[in-house]
Every structure is written in C-alpha cells, then in structure tokens.
Amino acid sequence: MKGNKTARVTATAMVLAVILFVFVMMDLSWAGTRTLSLGEVWDALIGKGTWANDIIVNTQNLPRVVLGIFVGAGLAVTGAVMQAVFRNPLATPYILGLSSGASLGAALAVLIPVSFIPLTLMQPMLAFVLCFCTMLLVYSISKSSGSMIKTETLVLAGVAVSSLITAVVSLLTYIAPSEQMGSIVFWSMGSLGNATWEKIAFAAPIIAVGIFVMVCQSRNLNAMMLGDAHAMDLGVDVRRIRLFLLVISSLVVAAAVSFAGTIGFIGLVIPHIFRLILGPDNRLVIPISVIGGSAFILMCDYISHVVAPLYGVLPIGVVTAIIGAPFFIYLLCTKKKAIGW
C-alpha cells in the first residue's frame, strides 16, 4: 500500500509535467490566424527562429504563458490551503472577498484616473491594495465577535463583505461611461492577455515565495484539518499559523488577481482532483497543485484563444468555469464519499 502510494504520486507528477509541457508549447504556438509548428516554437525559444516567429513566441506569447504558470499555481495552492485552513470544501481564494476587493480596486482605477500614474500600473496597484484591505476587514469583523476566530464566522463575514463590494462594483460598472465599462467587465472575467515582463517581475516573486511558505506549512495544515483542538494538542499554534496563512494567501491572490483579473474555479477544482487521487495529505496535494494549477490555466488559455476565432480571444475566466464547473459537478455526483467532505 505504501509503495503503491509512492508510485501513484510519481505517476501523477509525471503525467502532469507532460501535460504542462504540452500546453506550454501549444499556448506558445498561437499566432492569431494560424498556429506555429512545435519545431518553430522550439527554434524561436532557443533563439534560432525567424524574425516573425521570434516576435510571436517570445514577445507576444511568452509573457502570457509565464504569467499563466504563476497565476495558475498560486490560485490552485491558495485554494488547497484555504480548504484545509477552513476545513471547508467550498473555501477558495475568493471566499474572504479577496476577488471582489481586487475588482473594486480595478474599477476605481478606471473611473478615477490619476494623471501622473499610467492606468496599466494604477489598476493592478489599486487592486492589490483593496484586495489586501478587504482581507483585513473580513478578518477584523470576525475577530470582533470573540477572541477565538471561528471558521464559520470568518466565512460568513467573507460572503457578506464580498456581496457588498460586488454590488458597489456593479454600480460602478452601471454608471461608468460605456468606453470604460468594457475594461472593467473584461477585467472581472479574467485575462492573461495583458501580461508584460514588468508585471511578471512584480507578481512572480510574491507568488513564488508565497507558494514556498505554504508548502512548508503543509504538515501543520494536515493537523489543522482534524480540527483546531487536535492541532493545538499536537503543538500547532493554530491562531498564529492561521493568521499567517491568511496574510500569505491574500498576498498571493492579490498578486494573481491584480494582473490577470478574477479567474475562477482553479482554486476550487484543482485541489479536489488531487485529493481524490492522492488522499488528503497536504504534503502531496499542495506541491502537486502547483503543477496542476499551471497546466489547467494554460490549457484554458489555449482553448480561449482557438475555440471561437470569430469572436477573437475569449475571457479565460469564462473558459475555466465552463470546463471546471461541469467537471466539479461530475466529481460531486460520483466521488462525494471519496473526497471525504
């Protein structure tokens, strides 16, 4: 049984690595009306491609793919962590109102232009700040009801704050001049298309460090899945570690959401799939979710580019939900018991 499990983990990791590689190459091969061959992509990557292919692969596609790898990994890992911290299968990076906070920031940046800061910089910055503030607000609301924060209170506070902010964003979208409305709407559906190396330089270190820190906490998360009292009995300082993980998660989500908009379902579906295959042990689920999240987001990104050429590039949030939701429903119907919730 033990060896069986090791084999299963290795097999899963290898299959995922192959899938990730395939979709990295496919996503890099997109050239609008046509698709480059894998050989052309490879040549361009190692600097031997034609001038046109070099621009397509390295300038047009590569930043998007790299941002996708970080965003997908970050969202999937924070999803796994949130579900363990809250012992709640529905917990996602967005349950604390993080995405709505970021949306508000992005919408405000569009509506209230600051002349000396360019919008491309202002929008992610404001999204980042408001995302973080929302998390602090939700946390302090749930803290005010008692010294020991209850998971249920935290989730309820998150849902309440989230719906309030979402309403404000809808209001802003409604009253926004029509030429700016599109920007807010597209942003709220998510896109990797605005990736630049400057944005990656900002987002990638935050996401990478955050993932590393969360992987290091996976043993403590296992204990916390048994319940707060169990974890404390095993020497886990639950209050401190939970707050710490919430701060790290909101940093990672803020970094992801600020530059790619709200991309749903990755944080929900990816950890569940791997819990189904590998069991609940976070020491396996969290690292595997890193590869799984990246592979899934690149697959969706590729599909969003090629599925409906008539309409151009679809918002990636639409694709992740259209693929993710039915798959999740399938899991819910067939494997409910095995997931363990």
């Binding site: 290091c216 296992n222 048994l226 020497g235 363990g340």
Partner: protein, 264 residues
Amino acid sequence: MVNAMEVKDLSYSYAGSNVLEDICLTVGKGEILGILGPNGGGKTTLLKNLNKNLSPRCGCVLVDGTDIADLSKKAIASKVAVVPQTNEVNFSFTVREIVEMGRMPFQESFRGSSTSDSEIVDRALEQTGLTGMQERLINTMSGGERQRVIIARAIAQTPQILLMDEPTLHLDISKQFDSLNLVTKLARDNGMTVVIVSHDLAMAARYCDRIIMIHNHRIHAMGRPEEVLTPENMRTVFNVDADLFFDEKIGKNTVILHDSYNGN
C-alpha cells in the same frame, strides 16, 4: 514522589463568570489522577488549561518545574499529549497518517519522518492493536475505533503526561476496559503520568491512584479513591446515592450507584 505537573492557584473565567477558582494540585510522575465532577462543571476547561489550549486568568501550570506560559505550543506538545473528547474526522486520512502526526512536535516543518519516528509509530500501532488496520481510512471507522487511533497518536507523541477527556464516552464497555488497561500499563511500565477527566465514578474508582472532585468551580475533595468517593461527597457533588466497594474478585475499587436524590 517527583512532581510531573503542578497547578498553582489557577483561576479561569469565561465571559465574565468564573469557571474555575483557586485550583491547586500536584500530579506525581507515573501517577493516574482522576478529575471528577458533573457535566458543565469546568473539568474539560481545567484540562485545556493544562496544555495551554486555554490560558488561565491567574495562577500557573508547571510541567517539569517550568511554567507552560513560557513554553511554545510545540515544546508543550513534546511533553503533554491529549486524547480529546470529540474525535470526528471528515477527511480520508489513513490510520497510520493520523498516528504519524503524533511525531509532529519533534519534527522540523518540512522534513520527512526519520527511522526512529516510524519505529515509534509502529510500536504505538502495535500497542493499541492497530497494526493490521493501519491503512484503513479514519472517516470510515466507528467512534470507538477512532478513539483507539487517537490514543495511538498520543502514545506516538511519547509524552511524559497524557491528558484524557472522558475516555470512556464513545466506547463499548469492553473497549473501555481495553483502553484504560493499556493506559494503566503505560503509566506503570514507562512512568507516564495520566490525568483523566470523567464523570464515570466506577471507572475512576477502579483505575485512578488519586481523585480530585470539582464542585462549584473549586476543588471539593482530593485524595485516594476511598477517601474521596465517600457517600457524602458523591451526594454533594453528583446528587446520587452511591457507595464505594472493594471488588474482591479483581482486587480493585468500584462504585455502586443506588439511585439519584432528585425528587426524594
């Protein structure tokens, strides 16, 4: 006798009302101490104060002569293990994975288990008779089996002190004996100190070296079972008509409950 744990003038209040007042007690090394009292009387609260899951309003708890307020949760967990009252687990961890968590206080945050860790886990599984069940999923087991797993986890923690909250609550009668016999053996063989919180008078009379009765948030009586489990004390604290007997067949004390005093 060397003291494994000492509680000095401990008071605890919750939402403005006192739950525990001026609790003073010592537990000797290798001793089995029973803390008895009616439900809602603050027994579990006292137990949670003993490993800093709750912090007292005043007073202190010393383990090995050190105030646990000055120790990290991890340092406390390397000395004090707990078998809590509720053991519902929703996740499909295997028995072995749960028992391995007992080694957490001794491990760095991102390092695999060492060989000695897995030997300790093997022994804990063997002592609790779980070796053959170690790959079973915890969320498919009965309450009694789950408690056995949690006891195994506590043993894997190689604690100096084991705290048990109502250990007989979820168990079949025969399993109650098995669990407590095992714990008694560990106390006698390894010098492990055991503190059991319970309202089960007969169980306490049989297994505990010393008993503390909690009544109205304070210690009402403290001493050997035959000193504490008097008809008067059991009437005052539990409102029952009961007697302590020496069961000659097993050579141990037991309590016979005759009736309650309610309505008489």
